[in-house]
């Protein structure tokens, strides 16, 4: 424990010394630094902060230092997170490679793959996107059709992937492809890494109900992919995918409702758009009830996040609790957006132009976007099926 406290002090000191003041202010989407061959920095400070963190390996605190990571254990990583939060330090680097592909390569990749990809991710040199879903496949991921034919020295990939977030900006994509069309469903699927610059790869943007989005559809037309880009065994990509899905669900449950949203939370919005009466209570009893129900639910969810962590730490890991987080995070996230909409009333009904400020428009767009949260990364229905089967052990039909 003592060395942990010591570590905390060192971390705090280092952050104090190295995190520019401007990088301690709440971050907007525009100010996020995303990995990539041609990275954009919103400011010199952002670049400085990124480079300092990168050099410490703290863009990926828990990854091995020899591969560009910070080499911290889970406790230390949590302390770093807490200290950054306390100081308001911004996340220095954003990338799906950090959240999803990296962990998978570290778990399933061979040394050559680790050497090639992990350091680049750690240093933010490459931006990754994900190619799982396909048009028509939906929740039934295993029914995917994108084909990767074994041509001896390479695979020939044909098909298309949908919901490939930020594919238009990404350098590489990690995909699930069918390598054995005769095998049944889960079998015959492999996990492949594809360079978006390869000939035959093209991407189009998808417009959502919330307006332009980061979601794309990516097409593969006779794309040649070297064999070394196969992660894990041939036809065993499903196990890699499952491991990754866990990361995605964790991600989804953490971002929860907090997708492109306004600067205010529900309580602030309530005080500003509804106001309090003489009795100190929100003027609208119905909205007040809706608000407090949400606030109490969010508190319970937050405490559950802490609990799962403490359980892991204390070795009492109940592997079941994490299974509920994707569901509760996204479902309550949707309720939060409905609540904000109700609180703002007429002011949340604008699309663009005059008469609605940024926060109000973000509220409207955020509400619409939140509808995707309980669909992407495993629908709420799939989550409930999983709980019924894996946790409760209810009989399947």
């Amino acid at each position: 424990m003592a060395d942990l406290d010591q570590f905390r002090l060192e971390v705090r000191q280092w952050l104090e010394d190295n995190c520019p003041a401007s990088q301690r202010l709440p971050i907007t989407r525009e100010e996020q630094v995303w990995a990539g061959r041609n990275k954009q920095f919103p400011s010199a400070d952002a670049k400085l902060w990124f480079e300092r963190m990168r050099d410490k390996g703290w863009t990926v605190p828990e990854w091995p230092s020899e591969l560009g990571g910070g080499g911290l254990d889970e406790r230390q990583a949590k302390i770093l997170k807490e200290e950054m939060k306390a100081l308001g330090c911004r996340t220095p680097l954003f990338d799906l490679g950090i959240w999803m592909l990296g962990p998978a390569v570290l778990e399933f990749g061979n040394d050559e793959q680790k050497q090639e990809h992990i350091p680049k991710i750690a240093r933010g040199e490459v931006r990754w996107c994900q190619g799982y879903s396909e048009p028509g496949a939906g929740s039934d991921l295993a029914s995917l059709q994108t084909r990767a034919e074994d041509m001896g020295d390479h695979f020939l990939v044909n098909g298309s992937k949908i919901w490939t977030t930020n594919a238009d900006k990404a350098d590489w994509i990690f995909c699930l492809v069918r390598t054995d069309p005769d095998a049944k469903k889960q079998e015959g699927i492999s996990f492949l890494l594809i360079d978006m610059d390869d000939p035959g790869v093209s991407t189009t943007l998808i417009e959502l109900i919330s307006g332009e989005s980061e979601f794309c559809q990516t097409f593969f037309d006779n794309v040649k992919v070297p064999k070394k880009n196969l992660v894990g065994e041939l036809n065993k990509g499903w196990s890699v995918a499952k491991a990754l899905l866990k990361h995605e669900r964790k991600l989804m449950s953490e971002i929860g409702g907090d997708t492109p949203g306004p600067s205010f939370g529900p309580v602030q919005a309530a005080l500003e758009y509804v106001g309090k009466g003489a009795d100190g209570k929100l003027k609208d009893a119905a909205l007040r009830d809706q608000l407090v129900r949400h606030e109490m639910a969010y508190r319970a969810i937050g405490l559950t996040h802490f609990r799962t962590f403490e359980e892991r730490m204390s070795g009492q890991a109940d592997s079941n609790v994490p299974l509920i987080m994707k569901y509760v995070g996204t479902e309550e996230g949707k309720r939060k957006e409905e609540l904000l909409l109700a609180l703002l009333g007429h002011q949340a009904l604008g699309w663009d132009g005059e008469g609605f400020n940024e926060d109000e428009k973000l509220t409207t767009r955020g509400w619409l976007f939140s509808k995707a949260l309980s669909i992407a990364g495993g629908t709420s229905e799939v989550q409930l099926n999983i709980i019924a089967k894996r946790v409760l052990g209810l009989p399947q039909q």
Binding site: E207, A285, E381
Partner: protein, 379 residues
């Protein structure tokens, strides 16, 4: 109490269905949106609606009306909700014309209503000033000014307010915001000096405006009804609006629900139709139940208007509160059950989702109407 349509009304409904599906499918609303149409609806199609008699249907014969009643109009509006047809029907015929009819002088009725019936002019009710529906909180000031009146203040959210030829403005001539006393109604030309109209781009792609009144001078005959005594006129006008808006919402919810059930029958997942999953079946059944209950409420609410029933306020709040909840439920479920495609702009379900929330806020959210219903019932 009439809880079924008669021959005549069914005929009206079928004609409306045919006209709307042929001329104003949801695709038409998308076009209006993508072309950033200034009006927010097609004047040409509005003319056609008027030729079909939709603008005159509830007006007395003496003003070139058909005197068919709201059961008939409600059936038409319900159909218009199925295709999200954008038109000034609610603002002109239900809200605007009702204000003139219930509060206006013979001269005003003669001057306005026949032109409404023919489609010559459109109207809009300028009411809302705050974030939420609160008619009694009207603060826009009306002062006597020689023979006439002077208006100063602002309206934040006036559906079709930018395109209407004439506005019916709710103003306060005495007492304080929150008070039912001291409200007055004025008939104001859209191009009156001192009146600024700013178009608002709403999430449902329908037309609305914010208005600013800067020393707007009005003649004496602009006043509708008695000075400061508008509430007994305004409240039934709002209740008519709430009920007809609820009828539109019912249509939208039914359409959304039917499209979703259809999708459940077509969409394959895990080798079966997703409609065979019991969890989705039960949720679909629950929506069906809610919609059937809502239908009954809507019928009774519409007859309550036609029969001038004393419990019109209750029925209006019952109908609006219920449709707010049902339309929200159905649109949310529709998006979720459609899965990924459900959140794309390509699928039309999103248009229903967006309209549902605008309609929910219009003329009172569910909380407003449950509170009102409870108070009306003495608790």
């Amino acid at each position: 109490m009439a809880l079924v349509l008669n021959e005549e009304q069914r005929l009206l409904k079928d004609t409306a269905k045919d006209f709307l599906s042929a001329n104003m499918p949801v695709e038409a609303l998308r076009k209006l949106r993508d072309s950033a149409d200034e009006t927010g609806y097609s004047r040409e199609q509005w003319q056609q609606m008027c030729e079909l008699g939709w603008a005159s249907i509830v007006l007395p014969e003496e003003y070139d009306g058909l005197d068919f009643g709201f059961m008939g109009l409600g059936a038409i509006i319900e159909e218009s909700g199925r295709t999200l047809a954008a038109s000034p029907l609610l603002s002109t015929v239900v809200l605007g014309a009702s204000a003139v009819l219930l509060g206006g002088s013979d001269a005003q009725k003669q001057a306005i209503l026949p032109k409404v019936a023919s489609g010559e002019i459109t109207l809009a009710l300028a009411l809302e000033e705050g974030h939420h529906h609160a008619p009694l909180n009207t603060a826009l000031r009306a002062e006597a000014n020689g023979e006439g009146y002077r208006l100063n203040g602002a309206k934040s959210f006036v559906p079709d307010g930018h395109s209407a030829d004439k506005l019916i403005v709710v103003a306060r001539s005495s007492a304080a915001p929150g008070d039912a006393e001291g409200l007055s109604l004025f008939l104001v030309d859209g191009d009156t000096p001192g009146l600024q109209r700013q178009r608002r781009n709403m999430v449902d792609s329908r037309g609305a405006a914010a208005l600013v009144f800067d020393n707007v001078e009005l003649p004496a005959d602009a006043l509708i009804g008695e000075l400061g005594k508008a509430w007994p006129i305004l409240e039934p006008v709002l209740d008519r609006g709430r009920i007809c808006l609820a009828a539109e919402m019912l249509g939208g919810a039914l359409e959304c629900f039917e499209r979703t059930v259809q999708y459940l029958k077509e969409r394959d997942q895990f080798g079966v139709k997703i409609g065979s999953f019991q969890a989705l079946q039960h949720r679909a059944s629950l929506m069906y139940i809610e919609l059937e209950l809502a239908k009954s409420v809507m019928f009774d609410a519409l007859t309550a208007i036609d029969d001038n029933r004393a419990d019109l306020p209750q029925l209006a709040s019952l109908a609006k509160a219920r449709m707010n909840d049902v339309f929200e439920l159905v649109t949310n479920e529709a998006v979720q059950m459609h899965g990924g495609i459900g959140v794309t702009d390509e699928l039309e379900i999103g248009f229903f989702l967006k309209r549902s929330r605008v309609a929910s806020q219009l003329l009172g959210n569910a909380g407003f109407h449950r509170d009102r219903y409870a108070s009306l019932c003495g608790y």
